[in-house]
Subunit: 334 residues, 2 copies
DNA sequence: TTGTATGCGTTATCAA
DNA sequence: TTGATAACGCATACAA
């Protein structure tokens, strides 16, 4: 009852003493390794006792014993894109269930230097998001690796999202709305995820000779997108709809359209990718391809954890959805 | 040279063997506890050997020995606001230096239930961001606590930002620009940080009877702000400038203004708080009070770590700055 | 079916 | 000024 009494954690040994068994039995039971070794009665008693006493495993001790560090690295190309916050959240939550902490690190494609001098020692695994596996080669040396939203390569487990399907969704919606001149604002960054979008766009319009298209590579910054779009949207035969590789880029299109006096959703339809919070905050709301980013992180961590379990088959691409808002409407009459 | 040779970490014992000293000497030296106990020559030799061998401490072992968990909890009111991503980044980076992992958890003010059944066991500390200390009372029981961006209370270490000063900055700038009718869109959420903004606004206009003011409490959602602002901005004697408690709320003002045909920066000046990424992406760019959120997280973690060192004095409020963009301009002629 | 014994790498106490 | 030694809580090989 004393406030000053130092807190003492409930250990497996404590549970063992109360349950009247040995500590190793407790360990066996709690790790599910009692199958065929420990009697059902004992299993029940131990489980229940642990529960009742509020036993919680000491991860430090566990990691020490197992020679693991309890940390996983999440490598991302940049921190500024809030998409990665979602991936992080998903991975972190799942990791916590397994006593794994998650440390994020931005690893630019050009300069792949890492702060980890001895990754094998410091890391239990690496999750690379939206970047080629070779970029993280030096930090992932000797450590289980999972790539997210990148090209599935033989021998490297990958979790992907159906970005091609997302582009198809966007494109078909625009076609349904009667648009026959559609531009694709492409992220000018070498990444599988953007190649997928480009390919799906090209594929989707290939069988439609009645549709005019424009492909506009752009740096990620909205201001650059705006600059690039000004001449495009001023032209006499301007596109009536634009698909952007990212919601941030879409805001650049908004900006250009507005200063040209074009009304978004009426004169010009715009679709983005990610369904970032900003998509619902601009006016009009931005129609966007929602990517299951939190799921992506979750599945990635799940796969990493399963790696020692011998999981090898990549899961199906995660489904995506088109979220319609005010930025899309019927093609304007010519 | 074999690829299959299992990796073996460099331990303090390894260093000891090479340096020709005992393992305990290595521990003493590397923890800086050799002062007046270990000879300078030995200290040098050990330090250098450890460096050369690439020794890295095993945090699991350290935590086990010290009875610590190596994790601290960052409690935030909501995850949707990207401000907390910055706080998290700052705290996580600093924590990593001390072998501390950071787990985030959204703890709503109403329902303060936590997923931590035995916080003293699972957590080495709690950092509560923008929420009253009593909200985290049950999870922080028996654990060092630091509050961020909240009311400094006796006995509870706090790190704050100069939000009042930020409001003064914003207000004075608008006054300098000639605005004499200014509205304050207030976050309708009980939090110290918003009380500060409100108080500073009230204080700043108290001595200016020539200035008309409006105080408009609002939920956080931009759509709600828009709704509330429509009648305000349609009125014949509408405000010529608006200060918002948050950048997100400012986008709601943008939305309302635009649908009323008001040009931001000319007809209506707008200032936000946070300087979120979105502030530079809207058109025109949003003038905003930049809060040092990453610093806040960093200082919070630093303070938590210093707690066992006996640090008690709260640091000065972190300085803020006004970032001017296109959303502010001279007051329109009446 | 269960218990005993050992060591993971560290810190800290005590003896030398 | 330094070294031997004992835990910390857990997983597991081996003994019973």
């Amino acid at each position: 009852m004393s406030d000053t009494e130092p807190f003492r954690a409930v250990t497996a040994t404590d549970v063992a003493r109360v349950a009247g068994v040995s500590q190793s039995t407790v360990s066996l039971v709690l790790n599910g390794k009692g199958r065929g070794r420990i009697s059902d009665k004992t299993v029940r008693r131990v489980t229940e006792t642990a529960q009742r006493m509020g036993y919680r495993i000491n991860q430090s001790a566990r990691h020490l014993r197992l020679g693991a560090s309890g940390t996983v690295l999440l490598a991302v190309p940049t921190l500024t894109n809030n998409a990665f916050a979602a991936v992080h959240a998903g991975a972190a939550r799942r990791g916590a269930e397994h006593g794994l902490g998650l440390v994020v690190f931005p690893l630019s494609a050009e300069d792949g230097t890492s702060p980890f001098s001895a990754p094998q020692q410091a890391l239990d695994g690496v999750i690379a998001c939206s970047m080629p596996a070779k970029t993280v080669a030096d930090v992932s040396a000797g450590v289980p690796l999972v790539v997210l939203d990148d090209a599935p390569a033989p021998g490297i487990p990958a979790v992907t999202m159906d970005v091609s399907g997302g582009m198809a969704l966007a494109l078909n919606r625009l076609l349904d709305l009667g648009h026959r001149h559609i531009a694709h604002v492409r992220a000018d960054r070498p990444a599988w995820t953007f190649e997928q979008r480009a390919r799906a766009f090209d594929l989707g319009v290939r069988t439609r000779p009645d549709v005019m298209t424009q492909r506009i590579p752009c740096p990620f910054a909205p201001s650059m997108v705006r600059e690039r779009m000004m001449p495009v949207l001023s032209a006499p035969d301007r596109p009536t709809a634009v698909v952007c590789d990212d919601d941030n880029m879409a805001t650049g299109v908004y900006s250009a359209a507005m200063s040209l006096g074009l009304t978004i959703g009426t004169d010009l339809s715009v679709i983005g990718f990610n369904d970032a919070p900003a998509a619902s905050q601009v006016t009009p709301g931005l129609t966007s391809v929602r990517l299951p980013l939190e799921d992506l992180g979750d599945q990635g961590m799940r796969m990493l954890v399963g790696l020692r379990g011998g999981v090898t088959a990549d899961p199906d691409p995660l489904p995506v959805a088109l979220v319609e808002r005010g930025s899309t409407g019927p093609a304007p009459q010519v």
